[in-house]
Symmetry: D2
Subunit: 176 residues, 4 copies
């Protein structure tokens, strides 16, 4: 069994990645990471209704999608930037509309039923102001057919806060 | 009086832009447009807590921010991509965290109290599944001190749908 | 075809009822009203897991349920009290848990697929602060199998406001 | 210091009350309970705009309000019935509109700044479908000036589930 963690954080040693790591330590299988900031992923150009469909884009998107479809379970870890997922994460997900139309990926069939997890963190009343993000992921998972298993909202404002969080025990058995 | 429309759409003649145009036709002042797809805006690198703060980024972000802070009112028009604002829009807004720390922009003082509007559109139960986006903008506006005046959710799936929408009369007096 | 309007308003000539009336004037069939304030409906006593199930309650609930299940379409009209449906409406809906277990009502089979509508109104940023209510109704409709067709959020603070609303034209073709 | 727990559950030994009890065991002060099912509280009759204001209602509402305003902190514990607070709780809160206009209660001054907590529980994807309730309480607390400290969402379907919950450790230090 493999878990893929897709991180939308924009900096090294981020709090959301720390929380994801803690959660992953309870996973009894292989854990892989993709940090979107280390990939080149362009914004979507919506050509869903163009006669010839999408123009191919030469970047890392298909590679990340392949890894995601290969994994048994997927954890999306993103800081709460402006009360939503990071631009890295959103740019990546927008391109799913293109990936779904790429027959070589077989996106829909391979993602249906796949367990999905969300970990986010932020500072300003994150337990409440992070809820629209959770609702958004619910819709995303429903649309793809993924199975929304669980989410975790961490509180962290500045580098290092996650390590001192009093919620770490909630992550201890995250995957059990 | 000037209204700036910031569009997060990824394609020409988009439905969300059509709806924004309809709304803007009731505006009794100058209307300006910025289409984010025509700008180069990089993802944020979160250096809020770095000793030396943010590294300057050489792209169009400050120019768009200047236009936004200059305008009397701002309308954010974005398609609903994956139940949220587009990656173009999110990438732009993430960088506000950097702009807020650029003393030459005087971001906070100039944005406080500015009237803000949101227009979005989508296809899959958009009136309901678009609500997390509205809630997110509410938090964004609250944080900056903008005044969330009004939003409009349009239904449109494919190019041209907006023109045939039976909600156009809701836009007729959008700014009156 | 019949439309049943179930009103949760606590006063005569309420704004939410005015909006519902306007909407109903576009309905090409019979329109019936039930005002919950004129019915006696007790709070639920949750006995879902009692060996003998629910004790029968002698009030008007079954009668209202019968009318609801008989109607072809149902419109729930409720003022936004404290950012949710009124206590009248909530008390009524809570008892659905009991009605669902009353074999003589055949609740589930008769409600599945029935078109449902929501009209609410309030004063304090109702377009945004009313959204949790819409999300709640979405879940209610999903659970029962009802088909959430449409909602309308009106702005009204004091008696008579609805009549002067600039949103009445949105209701003109509500059922068309 | 005193904590008042106001319970909206409709049955003895309810799961939400069990979770509230667990949380309260970390409270270093007096803990009091009011179970709304043991009180007589009538639906509101909205007379906010009547010339003579509200007619006095002879039931237990003022008594409960007095206890709430007297307490240093208040925990609202309610099962998630139909994706919202119970009818007992909603009926109680609706009447705040009346209590706020009763000069003898001095409602607004005494509630402003009071710490508020919410505990709910349910079965059907409660972590996600319970979110509209949390958003609603946020608005309620904001309107009154209460300080929304914390919430807990428990998962429990049938009597006794709370005791076996794997989230009990989240409640251990709920008030610390």
């Amino acid at each position: 069994m493999t878990l893929l963690i897709i991180s939308g954080s924009s900096r090294e040693h981020s709090n959301s990645e720390f929380f994801a790591e803690k959660a992953a330590s309870s996973y009894t299988g292989d854990v892989k990471w993709i940090r979107l900031r280390e990939q080149t992923i362009h914004q979507i150009h919506d050509q869903r209704h163009d006669e010839n469909g999408f123009d191919p884009i030469d970047d890392d998107h298909s590679k990340v999608i392949e890894a995601m479809l290969d994994a048994d379970e997927v954890l999306f870890a993103t800081p709460l930037y402006w009360y939503g997922m990071s631009g890295y994460m959103k740019t990546f997900i927008d391109r799913w509309s293109q990936a779904m139309r790429d027959p070589s990926l077989n996106f829909k069939a391979r993602i249906t039923g796949k367990p999905g997890y969300v970990i986010t963190c932020g500072g300003d009343q994150v337990d409440i102001k992070g809820l629209p993000l959770i609702l958004q992921f619910k819709h995303i998972f429903e649309f793809t057919g993924m199975d929304f298993k669980k989410y975790f909202i961490g509180e962290a404002r500045k580098p290092g806060d996650a390590e001192k969080s009093d919620r770490l025990d909630q992550l201890q058995d995250f995957f059990r």
